[in-house]
Symmetry: C2
């Protein structure tokens, strides 16, 4: 899930079972979110018609990756996630933290849908699938094409399939522990 | 890492090896970030003096959790992460995407340090450690206490140790796949 996995740009033609994606979500949803808020929402784009709506929204460098991936997930967050908090976090009135604070909604939605998106990436890998997350797209265009009421907002895109290892480049450098962390 | 793991609020007195935290980072840093930007920065608070600076910044509900955890990590992002992009993403001038766009710096920092924070949570669990992530704190106060130049900004706090399973509550409900996802 960490060492062998890579971000893929090229995909085998092998199809992806919907059941594996569902199983990955069932693992990923167990990961922690603040106040159990779970703001992540997903559109799993796989039909030619839906791909045709998504492709004009992505950068030129991501066009072929999205066109050829068996699935491109739109990883979004629900700007009304707090309406579910009476059910998800029932022991206090967590909903009221958000109803009059739209900036907190956006920050909490972005933070926690990113956490959940990372759990989902690792859970997809745990199902034997490969991923290719992307930020090179126009979020306003994706929102307009898939979320016309703007209740959901796109965080990042995630290609899903079986990657072509023969076309991987060497891994880019990582920052070492001593560069990013200190003990106090 | 997913099914058995839980968010812990109570901790065994068993100490935590620094080498395990380092090893968890070495796994977590392999996870993908946009443009390989790796904005996450960590302060691993364990000394009584540093805990004493952190405790006045956390909510009353998190006070005892932080006080008793062997380590509380401050998961932050570097607002100048883009200065490293010539080394981390050398094939294009990615640094220039950020130098005149502070809003993009904040959004990219929050998104990607959250992704990296999630990889770190799962990697700590892979080392046999338990976690307790928290958003109940005053980020301005933590920044003032630990990052007085405001170059790093606190995203969330993360208790690390060996959790006390006897004091866990039942897991809170999760949203089902059909509630959050659709195929298109």
């Amino acid at each position: 899930m960490f060492r062998e996995a890579r971000t893929f740009s090229h995909w085998q033609e092998r199809p992806v079972s919907k059941a594996l994606v569902d199983a990955a979500y069932e693992l990923a949803c167990l990961g922690p979110t603040s106040g159990n808020c779970q703001p992540m929402r997903l559109v799993l784009v796989h039909s030619p018609a839906a791909k045709g709506r998504l492709l004009p929204c992505v950068s030129s460098g991501n066009y072929e990756k999205v066109r050829t991936a068996p699935i491109t997930a739109i990883v979004a967050y629900d700007r009304e996630f707090h309406e579910l908090l009476p059910r998800l976090y029932p022991h206090t009135d967590a909903r009221s933290w958000f109803t009059t604070n739209p900036a907190l909604v956006e920050e909490t939605g972005l933070r926690n849908s990113s956490l959940q998106g990372a759990y989902f990436i690792l859970a997809l890998r745990a199902q034997g699938l490969d991923c290719g997350p992307m930020s090179g797209f126009d979020a306003d265009k994706v929102d307009a094409a898939f979320f016309p009421d703007r209740r959901w907002h796109t965080n990042f895109l995630l290609n899903i399939g079986y990657g072509d290892r023969d076309r991987l480049h060497p891994r880019l450098p990582r920052l070492g522990f001593a560069e990013v962390a200190r003990w106090e």
